[in-house]
């Protein structure tokens, strides 16, 4: 219902074309019945803007777009490969790789020769050392003269009883202390032997460690028996790995009580007791390494071989023997 209070809104809605057909007719009837509002109604009708058709966008063609092939849509033509076109001389394009030649460098030849020579020398050296190895199985005896290193074999030197294979090396200092004790006990034993003479095979030989001239530690595993009358020293090497020195002493005594045993046996027993004490003290310092003995033995063999051969003179011509090879020194 249009009244004096709301007619303006109806007029504006009419101009904005937001009224229904019936409302538009109602507005038109209201204006007709109220001529005092005709002027205001005319002013509002003049406020409507009419589109200016002469105003046109000057560069409309620039706004048109066409799709590029990259942007392509499904309806755009697409190219497909023409499989009927083939390359006519394809065989000329195939290639084969040339044979590769192996070029040996000169230093490779020399290196290979050196390696081979080294292997041969090592094999020969090892084969030769097996024949002169001082470490022999049990119950082998090797006799050395006290002044020289020539082998001298005697029947007396053969000892059938298993004696000792003592545990590894000790430092030189402890070994020399033992030597002093042995020399003292040996001196007393020889005196006793002269008076009483040998009673049993065990007491017949004095136990003595081999005196070495080289500075290497004395191996306590070597128990040598010497006769006071002879100059020769018998070296008895018995390799019984797991026999303790105390057991060896008991074996030497052969079940005889300590008081009834000979002076030499008692000296050996004291030596072993001292040696056990030293072992207890040095157990942390010298740990027995089974492989060490073998390795060192190998080195000793090698040095011995070199030492023997290097000292040889042949008609004034100094020569060096390395294994089976003989080299002349200028």
């Amino acid at each position: 219902m249009i009244t004096r209070d709301n007619y303006e809104e109806f007029f504006l809605l009419y101009i904005d074309n937001e009224l229904s057909v019936s409302d538009r007719e109602a507005v038109e009837r209201y204006i007709a019945h109220h001529p005092d509002l005709q002027e205001e109604w005319t002013a509002l009708l003049h406020c409507r803007l009419l589109p200016e058709e002469q105003l046109a966008f000057p560069d409309r063609e620039a706004l048109y777009r066409t799709l590029t092939p990259e942007e392509g849509e499904d309806d755009l033509p697409r190219f497909s490969p023409d499989l009927s076109i083939v390359f006519p001389d394809k065989a000329s394009l195939y290639k084969e790789e040339e044979d590769r030649r192996i070029v040996w460098l000169p230093w490779l030849r020399i290196g290979a020769a050196a390696v081979m020579a080294g292997i041969v020398a090592l094999v020969v050296l090892l084969a030769g050392n097996k024949n002169i190895s001082p470490v022999t199985p049990a119950t082998t005896a090797t006799l050395y003269s006290s002044g020289t290193r020539d082998k001298v074999g005697t029947r007396d030197a053969v000892v059938t009883k298993p004696v000792v294979h003592q545990q590894p090396d000790k430092p030189v200092i402890s070994a020399r202390k033992e030597k002093k004790k042995e020399l003292q006990s040996r001196q007393g034993e020889q005196d006793v032997q002269k008076e009483t003479g040998p009673e049993r095979p065990d007491n017949k030989d004095l136990v003595q460690q081999e005196e070495h001239h080289d500075p290497t530690p004395v191996r306590p595993t070597d128990i040598t028996a010497t006769r006071a009358a002879d100059i020769t020293v018998t070296k008895v090497v018995v390799t019984t790995p797991n026999v303790h020195s105390g057991d060896a002493v008991a074996a030497l005594q052969g079940g005889i009580p300590k008081e009834e045993s000979s002076f030499a046996t008692q000296a050996l027993q004291r030596e072993n007791e001292d040696h056990d004490q030293d072992n207890n003290i040095l157990v942390s310092a010298e740990s027995p390494v089974p492989g060490k003995g073998k390795l060192r033995g190998l080195f000793r063999k090698v040095t011995r071989t070199f030492g023997k051969t290097a000292d040889r003179d042949n008609d004034g011509q100094r020569e060096v023997l390395v294994g089976a090879f003989q080299f002349a020194l200028k």
Binding site: L44, H46, C47, L55, F57, D59, R60, L63, L67, E73
Partner: protein, 161 residues
């Protein structure tokens, strides 16, 4: 929206958008740049635009770019408006169309856009609200105020003459 539909949108609505922007900016070059950039954006986003809504989408883009342009350039010059007012006062009242142009120029940007979209393009309140991001009631109120301002200006001008 396909390529064909886009080009149809150019044919049908390019002039309308241009008039709408030109009446707001009153600078042909600026209006042309705004229209071109609006169509460029429509082309890029054509996959997400339905053909039936392409016109309102285009006007929406153009309107916001115009607002950005106005803010950027700050082309509002009160002295120029006073000069235009003086010019019109010298002209006869019969030149109603010119007086209406001056009255339109006196509206603020929102009111002017509302009037142009309503009178030039015939959009409904709801459609104008979508384009200008206003509610329907806001469009109605703002547009009625703009109409009354135009009417008052024209009536006052007639009284002076």
């Amino acid at each position: 929206m396909s390529e064909k539909e886009y080009n149809e949108c150019v044919t049908l609505h390019a002039d309308n958008v241009y008039r709408f922007i030109l009446k707001n900016l009153r600078q042909e070059e600026d209006a042309r740049d705004v229209v071109q950039s609006a169509y460029e954006k429509l082309w890029k986003n054509r996959d997400g635009v339905e053909a039936a809504k392409s016109k309102s989408y285009l006007f929406t883009i153009a309107y916001h770019q115009m607002i950005d342009h106005l803010r950027k350039m700050k082309r509002v010059d009160l002295r120029a408006e006073f000069r235009e007012e003086a010019k019109i006062s010298d002209k006869p009242v019969s030149q109603l169309k010119a007086a209406l142009e001056v009255a339109l120029a006196r509206l603020n940007d929102t009111q002017r856009s509302l009037v142009l979209l309503k009178d030039y393009e015939g959009y409904s309140y709801a459609e104008i609200g979508q384009i200008m991001e206003l509610t329907e009631s806001q469009v109605k109120v703002y547009l009625h105020r703009a109409r009354l301002q135009l009417k008052n200006y024209l009536v006052s001008l007639e009284n002076l003459i």
